[in-house]
Amino acid sequence: MDKAPQNELQFQDRNQNYWQLASIQSASLGLPGIIVGGQIASQIGIGKAITSVIIGNLILWMIGLTIISMAAPERDNAIQITKRYLGKIGGVVATLFLILAFFGWYILQLNSASLVIHDLFHLENSQVRLGAGLGAFIALLSIGGIRLIKHFSVIVFPFLFLYVIYTSIKFIPNLHVSTIWDFSFAGIIGIMASTLAGIVNLPTFFRHSKSNSDSYLALSLMTIFIIIFQFYSIVAQYSDYSSISVSNNFDLILLTSFIVLSLMTVNLVNIYFSSAGWETIFPHRKSGTEYVIVGLLGTMAYTFLQISKPMEFLETMAENFIGSLGIILLLSFIVKIVVHHRPRPFERIVSVGCWLFGGIVGTVTQVETMNDSSYSLIIAICSASIAFLVVIFIEETIWSFKNAVLAKKEDQ
């Protein structure tokens, strides 16, 4: 990444250091990404939840490391890297799912933050107004693009981190750990499911990195900080949004600031994430105005759709496809490193086919399990992986059979 790629780089700010990159990603976990630790702890126990958070995030770190490595040489964004490995059709389909997922994430973040603030201040019938107001304000801020996100995150992250430490220290004496320290597959998958789509999108941010070493250090720091943030919700025993409460006005101000700043960062990041998709549709128009339009569309979607059933379904579906895309990219990269001994003429078709297969199986599972997002994501990922492995197995076996048996017979 240290040398400039051949293609002209059309985005700004290519000198972000590890701290800036890590601050952006860590500050943008959002309330749903933080609370997932507490939610899992309430289902499988604190001990298993802690191991799930650690193992789940380490697996995500591995996936992130691979995806960043894939994107680094050409400073690709998430869609460009998909195009490179899955071809043009793959890029177009990924763009559509990324945009669809953006609306889901934007709505989810606004909904969760406005719901908690609404309950904390005992407001009446003002949740939509609050969420829409915050959404419009975030859209306004997004005019500053990546530079504003960088400066904002670097300023905001220390506050978020210190708040988490302060609150965790307060809650630890109340914690009664009488649980078995064990591993939980469901817990690990639950943790992975909460941020896997974000990991797949990392290249869109890491293309701004100063160097490879900055990227890798940022990824490690980000993983550590995310683990700490998710521990916080376990320690605070936040099993759902209604369990978030405070005992005094000082804590109320701190918690509200934490939620609002966290929401602002995560949705600024969401807008920028989706820009990878918009850049594919409108390749010649890259300006702050586009981010504002995206943010306003997200706010409109929140106001009119909120967390309606169809929206929830579409969001889970998009996450199934993005999750299986991540796995296929990972496997394609590994195969590309390993398989040098034979040509792979159908490489992109195979990858797209397996990816879509995984996504479709996940969506069918989603319908059958009444929108169980974690389970359908597991099925999507597993189906895509198995399909890919089966195809590679067949490809490799046929090629080796041709060379080892048929070619030998011809020689004889």
Partner: protein
């Protein structure tokens, strides 16, 4: 101050100039001013008042345009020339406050009206007013993005639709007899018409600096005045659907017999509020350019202002009343218009630009009149007298005293 070099789009025709004003300011509350005139007047008296009022407005507006045409000055440039540098900062802030109050008040009124007029069957817990407000606010913000360029296109498209909707409303109104009353013939509503329209008049230079020529500007002003006169006279028949506070009378409009009226009203209210908001943001942009940091000025300023106002609007709509702020800012704009016109007449007579002493005089006259109005609206001072009369009197007195003083000291001949 001379902005010809950096000002975009300086070739607008009389038609485009007129469309921007008519589409930008033709809203239900402004049209319904005629109803207020009729309340204290006979029908013929109201008609005469509207005709005379529009004739005076035409004359004053020609004066405003003549002042700014040569150098293509905006309202703020004019303020700087006549009220001095400090005065221009006051006016910049006034323009921003006025836009803020109008944007919120007008969009809230439209949101309330449209929520009543449009029936959406959804969960009762969903606040439809908020949904409508967000939609109106965001639609306005989208259309503010390109400043004058988009405003011009929008107005040219929207005004014919607004006019059609207006006549559809007029022809589908239920028959009424309330507009014929026993009041005596008088011109008592003249100050009301002037007070309602002079605030807008002070904004005209900002829009007319884009004119192709003075002749186009005069044609546009004449067209605006004739069409406004027609709309004002027709609006006398709006009494049956507009109740006090300029709210739509639900009982009549929502009855199944008046479906066409309901649709025409929806179109009219929606388009008028959107265009008015875009025009408002553009008029305030000159103020923003003076007071905002350089980084926030330029092509993005319209977007920043539009979206900033939208965000505030979403959060405060229907929660706090801005009537007082609206009255005060409107009063201050009327005063600005009066001061500028008097200043222009005096400059023509003296055959030179205002000196710093004269600028200070005009600024004090404007400030004093605005303070008097503010106290009047707060109900602590001269409550019984029309704010317009108080403004005009105080401005004339201050300017007269200052000029007498200057003549005594030999500063003017």
């Amino acid at each position: 101050m001379n902005q010809i070099a950096k000002l975009e789009d300086t070739h607008q025709s009389s038609w485009q100039l007129a469309m921007i004003q008519l589409a930008g300011w033709t809203s239900l509350p402004i049209i319904a001013t005629s109803i207020l005139v009729l309340e204290g007047n006979s029908l013929w008296g109201a008609i005469a008042t509207i005709v005379v009022g529009n004739a005076i407005l035409w004359f004053l507006r020609i004066g405003m345009i003549a002042m700014s045409q040569e150098n293509r000055w905006s309202t703020l440039d004019l303020s700087s020339a006549y009220l001095g540098k400090i005065g221009s900062y006051f006016i910049a802030i006034l323009l921003l406050i006025s836009t803020f109050a109008w944007f919120i008040q007008q969009t809230t009124a439209a949101g309330t009206t449209l929520t009543r007029l449009i029936t959406i069957h959804e969960n009762k817990e969903i606040d439809q007013f908020t949904q409508m407000s967000v939609f109106l606010g965001i639609a306005s913000a989208f259309l503010c993005m390109e400043g004058m360029v988009l405003l011009k296109r929008l107005s040219v498209i929207v005004f014919p639709i607004l006019a059609l909707a207006f006549f559809a409303i007029l022809f589908t109104l239920p028959p009424i007899s309330s507009h014929i009353n026993d009041n005596r013939f008088s011109l008592s509503g003249l100050t009301l018409i002037l007070a309602t329209n002079l605030g807008i008049t002070s904004d005209l230079p900002t829009f007319f600096r884009h004119s192709r020529s003075l002749f186009d500007s005069v044609k546009a002003i004449t067209a605006i005045q004739i069409i406004s006169l027609g709309l004002g006279l027709c609006s006398l028949y709006f009494g049956s659907i507009i109740s006090r506070g300029f709210e739509i009378n639900d009982r009549i409009v929502l009855s199944p017999d008046h479906e066409m009226l309901r649709i025409a009203l929806i179109v009219f209210v929606f388009l008028s509020v959107i265009t008015a908001n875009v025009a408002n943001v553009y008029s305030a942009s000159v103020g923003w350019e003076l007071v905002a940091p350089t980084a926030l000025v330029g092509r993005k300023e319209y977007l920043i202002m539009g979206l900033g106002l939208t965000t505030i609007y979403i959060l405060v709509a229907n929660l706090l009343s801005l009537d007082y702020l609206l009255n005060v800012s409107d009063g201050a704009l009327v005063n600005l218009c009066l001061v500028l016109i008097l200043g222009y007449i005096l400059s023509l007579r003296l055959k030179r630009s205002p000196t710093s002493v004269e600028q200070t005089t005009y600024f004090i006259a404007w400030l004093l009149a605005s303070i008097f109005n503010t106290l009047q609206f707060a109900g602590v001072f001269l409550v019984e007298v029309s704010p317009f009369v108080v403004s005009l009197s105080s401005i004339i007195v201050v300017i007269a005293l200052s000029f007498i003083g200057m003549r005594i000291k030999g500063l003017i001949k």
